[in-house]
């Protein structure tokens, strides 16, 4: 896409039609700097031009929603003056180009989205997907991404308390790296991305601006990979967690002292976005002086300054009389700052460089007048073929099947990953990685915040609507088993090339499924992200929505259920919708049969609500609750045995039911008679005891073998074995 002979707008990734609308808008030839601004602001990544129309489908209202989609992060009311800010982002293409820096700057970016709202970021969750680990290239990417998340997250001082890993050949040329961040703030600290009234001063805080990442995130995330992606390499950005840490502390001091009118982070589209969006939101214009911007390298052109995606920068909007105080806070925290703009009446954004006006455009037009595509969509013919060939049953003895599954890197222990992450900082991590939802205490209150992030590309490949809905329900159940009730969702929609009608169909179906499930549970979507063009050489990834669910436990169960609290003599119950032997889209089908066929079991609204309600209640009495997902009941029980270092016996279930992943079910373990189960579907399936796990008819499996298989699933592969 970048051969010098092409007109500038094409070289900037803009179509001829889009160029025409710029002409219409300005009623003249755009200047280079203006074209640069429109090209990044109108890129898929920044403008959501292919998805915006459909995202309106999401339910976004609820009495506890303080800020819905549209701002840098969603904000919900936790009561007693506490608010939570949450957001999820993807950094897929940058992570393929340079796994360490791509993942690191992804973390930096999502943190800024959250502390832009006035919140202190308290936790991160990473959802990462790669091709199979037998390929050294995938091991390199996996290792690089995990080190990048660790390198940035640990150093910036925000714990990564959970996440999700999946491996599938469809991610080999296009890994997925999503990161979710949760922040907490007092109501009075809430800040929005507004430029305020005329006279307000714009102060650029943080890292000096350099040529790095010119068109990086926006261009990289808005086109597919092909032989030309080499050319995109020079725009790799390098993160500086140290700078970000100082920026967080400085901004939090600004908020606590009420020194800012508004704040906007600089991410994709850099200064172009951080000036036009806040001005547009406030319905004002702005004078911007590029000569005032503190730069890392000399001789940068106006377009470069406007497009640069240099990391760790924030724009603060400050009333004139407080400018000195704000600059003083910046220098106290040892970050650079510069007064770069002044809000003006009217709605024109005027940018000057070396004394000349280089851009003069309607501020709001960069965001509001972005193209809006209703791309054609078509239901793929192959869906019916897939549905027409149902999944086979499991042929091997359940014990053998279980060991195969526990040895799978997506099911085995995630310790290799999460032990590289500081997941304990701030002393709030009550339930960290290695279980279901994470549970964080809110000190000084009896509240617990639960978060679960769930994705499943294979399920959504077979049935994007049912798949999208089941992810919401699974995430809801994951927070419920910690004692929390679902409150709000953020979503990250990772899809292929939207110019293909089949991909658009998958996208719409997914949005519909997620929306219906949220309506069922009565919870809003408060934010999210769309990542298109996840294709390599024409092959699209599975549709891979990732759902991040926030739940509130009030009071937080003390102690909460833990996988490690099972003990000799306790009973094992399976609670929720009775499973069918359908293995379509399950881990068993993938690992044991290497297949992906059939139609997954459809979700059931009533059962979904019931299971969530019951789990959240039982969490106050049952020592162990564990939702049933990857690997079904068999894996869920095995995980409990491993964590509690005790055996178990599961009676009278045939193998397919042991590994079925049908939704709306969880395992409860408790002393007989200590827990009263509410009306509804619940089955006693076995007992805890001994040092072996026995599944139905098959040979007992020694606990140590279970534990080692589970522990080594990832490490033995990363060792190149």
């Amino acid at each position: 896409m970048t051969t010098a002979t092409q007109p500038l707008h094409r070289r900037l990734g803009m179509t001829d039609e889009e160029y025409q609308s710029v002409l219409g808008l300005l009623e003249r030839e755009p200047r280079p700097a203006e074209l640069a601004m429109y090209s990044v602001m109108w890129s898929e990544h920044c403008s959501y031009k292919s998805s915006r129309a459909h995202l309106r489908r999401f339910p976004t209202e609820a009495p506890w929603v303080v800020v819905g989609p549209g701002e840098n992060a969603g904000v919900v009311d936790l009561g007693d003056g506490w608010l939570a800010a949450l957001r999820i982002e993807s950094h897929n293409h940058p992570s393929f180009v340079e796994p360490y820096q791509g993942a690191a700057t992804g973390v930096g970016g999502i943190l800024r989205d959250v502390f832009t709202m006035g919140a202190r970021p308290v936790a991160l969750w990473d959802q990462i997907r790669f091709g199979p680990l037998d390929d050294p290239k995938n091991r390199y990417l996996f290792n690089g991404v995990v080190s990048g998340i660790a390198g940035y997250g640990n150093a910036v001082g925000v714990p990564t308390v959970g996440g999700e890993i999946e491996f599938d050949p469809c991610y080999s040329g296009n890994p997925l790296v999503n990161v979710m961040c949760l922040g907490i703030l007092r109501r009075e600290q809430l800040v929005l991305g507004t430029a305020g009234a005329p006279g307000t001063v714009a102060i650029l805080l943080g890292r000096a601006t350099g040529r790095d990442g010119i068109g990086g995130a926006s261009v990289l995330a808005s086109a597919s990979f092909d032989d030309e992606s080499q050319e995109k390499r020079p725009s790799v950005q390098v993160g500086d967690p140290f700078e970000e840490k100082k920026l967080i502390e400085a901004c939090l001091e600004l908020y606590q002292r009420g020194l800012v009118v508004g704040v906007q982070d600089l991410g994709a589209a850099g200064l172009s976005c951080a000036t036009s969006e806040p001005a547009g939101r406030a319905g004002v214009g702005m004078d911007v002086d590029l000569d005032a911007v503190h730069v890392r390298e000399g001789g940068m052109t106006a377009p470069e300054l406007l497009m640069s995606e240099s990391q760790e920068r924030m724009m603060a909007f400050v009333s004139p009389d407080l400018v000195e105080e704000v600059l003083a806070v910046a220098s106290k925290w040892e970050i650079e700052s510069a007064v770069v703009g002044l809000v003006r009446a009217g709605e024109t954004l005027i940018v000057r460089h070396r004394g000349e006006v280089v851009a003069e455009v309607p501020a709001a037009s960069l965001a509001d007048d972005a193209p809006l595509y209703r791309r054609p969509m078509r239901r793929p013919a192959w869906i019916d073929d897939l549905w027409a060939s149902p999944s086979d049953g499991i042929s091997q003895p359940p014990g053998d099947a279980l060991l195969r599954l526990l040895d799978d890197p997506a099911i085995g222990s995630t310790a290799w990953v999460h032990e590289q992450y500081d997941h304990m900082l701030f002393l709030n991590t009550v339930l960290g990685p290695g279980g279901d939802g994470s549970l964080l205490r809110v000190r000084g209150t009896d509240k617990g915040l639960a978060v679960s992030t769930d994705g499943n590309g294979r399920l959504c490949m077979l049935d994007p609507r049912a798949g999208g809905a089941r992810l919401v329900f699974e995430a809801a159940l994951n927070v419920a088993v910690t004692g929390a009730r679902p409150m709000a969702v953020v979503d990250n929609l990772n899809f292929g090339n939207p110019e293909k009608p089949e991909v658009m169909w998958q996208f719409l179906e997914t949005v519909e499924g997620i929306s219906e499930a949220c309506e069922t549970l009565g919870i809003p979507v408060v934010g999210g992200n769309v990542s298109f063009y996840n294709e390599t050489d024409g092959i699209d990834i599975h549709p891979t929505p990732v759902v991040g669910m926030l739940g509130l436990a009030e009071p937080m169960p003390l102690p909460p259920p833990r996988l490690s609290r099972a003990a000799e003599g306790m009973e094992i119950w399976e609670i929720g919708m009775p499973p069918t032997p359908n293995l379509a889209g399950s881990a068993a089908q993938r690992v044991l049969q290497g297949a992906l066929t059939g139609r997954p079991t459809q979700p059931d609204a009533e059962m979904a609500k019931w299971a969530v309600e019951v789990a959240a209640g039982l969490a106050h009495t049952a020592p162990v609750l564990h939702d049933i997902s990857d690997g079904g009941l068999a894996v869920a029980v095995a995980e409990i045995c491993i964590a509690s270092r005790v055996g178990a016996t599961i009676e009278g279930l045939d193998t397919d039911l042991l590994f079925s992943e049908d939704p709306h079910r969880f395992v409860a373990v408790f002393e007989p008679g200590t827990v009263d189960l509410p009306e509804g579907p619940a089955r006693r399936v076995g007992v805890i005891g001994g040092q072996t796990l026995t599944l139905g008819g098959s040979e007992p499996i020694a606990l140590d073998l279970l534990a080692e298989t589970h522990r080594d699933a990832i490490p033995r592969r990363m060792a190149g074995a």
Binding site: N154, F242, K245, A415, E419, L425, V430, P559
Partner: protein, 214 residues
């Protein structure tokens, strides 16, 4: 007993340390690294984190912060000086403790609970513990691998099984007089059973008790 908890740019465990010390009845205050005067404090903690981004070498730049003059004075007066994780690294760089900390043997960050054994109770960190006592608290570091070519370090806590290659399996090292101690795992992360362990209390209590009013 007033404890100064020093904050460098990039420090991130300062609030956790204040919380843990306060929970144990201590009086802990944050002190910005530009301060030079620590008079009025009975002891000082250099908490964990990534002071100055750990750039160049961990602790290398932090040791020149103005506050380190006050820290050295305290150490000289025999007052308790405790460095946790990054604080340990800073104390080594500044020469208040022997040796240095290099990358973990396996070149990976390690965040998990580790088991420690008390091998010297004559220090400001281990004074309230028993010789041979086992203590389970979280480790959280990339450069936790202590090397001491001069072999002049006094080991106060040992890893029961060494996670990072540290010389003599050292998890905590004390100065000759025992009033300056660096510990790589995080006692402040072990003061609440709800979060996995309360074993860190005996260490921080020992630290608080080791103080005589200034």
């Amino acid at each position: 007993m007033r404890v100064a908890v020093v904050v460098f740019p990039g420090t991130n465990c300062e609030h956790d340390v204040v919380h843990a010390l306060s929970a144990l009845g201590g009086e802990a205050e944050l002190v910005w690294h530009r301060e030079t005067d620590l008079t009025g404090f009975d002891g000082v903690v250099l908490p964990g984190g990534f002071a100055h981004g750990d750039y160049l070498r961990t602790g290398a730049i932090a040791r020149f912060s103005p506050v380190m003059a006050g820290v050295e004075r305290m150490a000289g007066e025999g007052r308790p000086v405790l460095g946790i994780c990054n604080g340990f690294q800073i104390l080594c760089e500044s020469g208040l403790l022997p040796g240095a900390l290099i990358a973990n043997r396996d070149l990976a960050f390690i965040c998990r609970f580790v088991e420690l054994e008390v091998v010297d109770t004559d220090t400001i960190l281990t004074g309230a513990a028993e010789l041979g006592q086992r203590i389970r608290i979280p480790l959280n570091s990339y450069e936790g691998n202590w090397v001491d070519p001069g072999r002049s370090g006094r080991i106060a806590l040992r890893y029961v099984d060494d996670p990072n290659g540290s010389q003599g399996s050292a998890a905590a090292v004390a100065s000759e007089k025992g009033n300056v101690v660096g510990v790589m795992p995080h006692p402040e992360r072990g003061v609440d059973e709800l979060l996995g362990s309360g074993d860190g209390r005996v260490l921080l209590e020992g630290f608080l008790h080791s103080m005589v009013p200034a």
